[in-house]
Amino acid sequence: MADISRGQFLRRGVAGVVGTVGAGLSAGPTAAALPAPVPQGDDVGFLSFGAVAETASAAWYRNAASTAFSATDRRRFAQSRAAKNAHIAKINTALGADAIQPGDFDATFPGDAFASKASALALGQRIESLLVGVYLNGAAFAANDATRLLLGRLLAFDAQQLAWLRGLGGARAATGLPIPLSLEQAGTTLDTLVTTPNFPTS
């Protein structure tokens, strides 16, 4: 192998970095496009839970928008709700025949959930924590690469939402790392927030 001088090494290094970043920037839109997830095995569980919990989350943002928050916050609630609905659509595309249909589940919140900003935020954080916990698990263990990538992106979004809601509640930015949750753990909590319409609870 030919020897190179320190100057040549640095120049080549800079060229490599510039080339990599440039290629990354120019390929930006292509790189951002998500390969189609093909869920395998337990992947369906992560996605199905996500679809139902995102439905509850979207309902929370809808209700929160009519609570006594500032106009700025309410605007962001509306944006977040739109993002949640887009996420549900993406998850359903990935689920195919297993997709959650509109009307399969209704969100049911405690009567006093939106009585105050504090109670509303507590519920919102609870839902986002469920999502973050399950997505954290899914991003680590989903069998299909594209599904893992989708779950990772959903995780990134919901982790930001969780941090924002915590901030609205007066918490400091970093208040502990979220922990991964199994579907068994997270499902117990989610079950208190959703019902199957047209069926009496047994």
């Binding site: 095995g41 337990d42 369906v44 569980g45 199905s48 839970f49 139902v52 919990a53 297993d98 249909q101 009307g103 399969d104 589940f105 579907l183 068994e184 499902g187 117990t188 989610l190 079950d191 959703v194 019902t195 199957t196 047209n198 069926f199 009496p200 047994s202």
Partner: protein
Amino acid sequence: MPSRPLTRSRRVRVALLVVAAAALAAPAGAQAVTVYGAASLTAAFSQIDRSPTYNFAGSNQLQLQIERGAPADLFASASPAEPAALFREGRCTRPVTFATNILVMVTPSNNPGGLRSVYGLRAGGRRLAVGTAGVPIGGYTRRLLRRMQLTSILDRNTVSLEPNVNSIIAKVGLGSADAGFSYYTDYLAAKSRLRVFRLPTWAQPPVRYQMCVVKRPGAHTAAANAFMRKVLAPNGRRVLKRFGFGLTPRG
């Protein structure tokens, strides 16, 4: 009292009255309807109307029989897939949703497998009664297990595949299986012999019952429509509710 002789017009009126009375008194007798229904509808349908000739079985089996020309007039399925297929093939009218249900896990009342929840089946070694993949209860069960990340329980336990929900209930009720997956309504119908375990709401597949009037030469279409109206009428809905079914909003 001497009887008055009937005039011609009176005779005509009497004859018309007799014909009208006969038509009102025995519309069902004139057109005996044959209803092919999902096994899970056995008790409720028989209560709504005793007069039809019933054939209760797995919805997929009934669909196949109708496709082969069986003399069904009305088809009531435990899932939308079967009537939708018949509708696409032009063999029945547009299906109507009339009831809903949910899935539960049942064990014999003495719970010999010592199960505390569905998650206990992950340990394996139990006898499970599960619907075959083609029958609605089997499809719903597999969908629920996929959502709960529990499909492995079908490998870890000894599974007997059943053709319909009645045979799942029979097997569990007799103690030939440690657990099984059925509809909530089937548990209610045999609850003295069973113990029920609720399955998570968030993982429930949407169980929707649909019915349609079968199109075939010689079908008793009017009688089938009359039966359908009976099921959708307030009394039919009350019976379905009493047997534990969920109801869709009246359309």
